[in-house]
Amino acid sequence: MPLSRDDAAVFTRIFDQHRHAVHAYFLGRVADPELARDLLQETFLRAWRRLSEIGPLPDARQRAWLFTVARNLTIDSYRASAARQAAEAALRHHAATQETTVAGPHLQAELRERLARLDAAIRRLPEDQRVILSMATAGGLTSRQIGEALGEPAGTVRYRLSQARKQLVGERLDLEEEA
């Protein structure tokens, strides 16, 4: 594809607009940060190759296009890793045995500990809830936007989000209610 400054600018705008949402989706799906990063790169690489098609689309349709690619890549990723059950088992094992890396050294020990418990609790959520929670929090999407991206009604998204939050509150996160 011949490269122009305009192409680069259009792509950068799309990348900056949607990268958090797509990354949050992959975090919810695969949990492994490295794999999520690789899948994010592959998604936008495909967007770059099809820039002449998706560049002129409105925001919502660009997002829909990106999430279609993201879903397909996730499925491919599951296949490549031989079995989704194995991935889920690995996630649960990771949650049970590994110390989380979500918190930086600058955070207070107490907050770091609470974030670690939250991270482990999020990993234990059912996948559909985990993905939606990740998209809503790390991705900054509304229920309607998540629904459009996943092909589900916004009401279903809100319900799953609510279920996820209920389950998290049931975990030992030392929320104020439990103190």
Binding site: W48, A103, A138
Partner: protein, 72 residues
Amino acid sequence: MTGPARHDLDELLAAWAHARRLPDADAERIRQAIVPAVPALSVTWWSEFNQKLSTAITRATATPAPALAALQ
């Protein structure tokens, strides 16, 4: 869930999301890996542009010969 607990969970989730988001520097590395570098402008671009501009100004402002003759 009570109000304070909900608020507390919101804050904790916000901190979790912040920690999980892809850092800007990492995102930029990914972007650069995808988009090949756009060729920079020629190093002589500025001097060539100035030369063309000077020529255009000279032509536009030079007094035409008939007008010069009429003045004399």
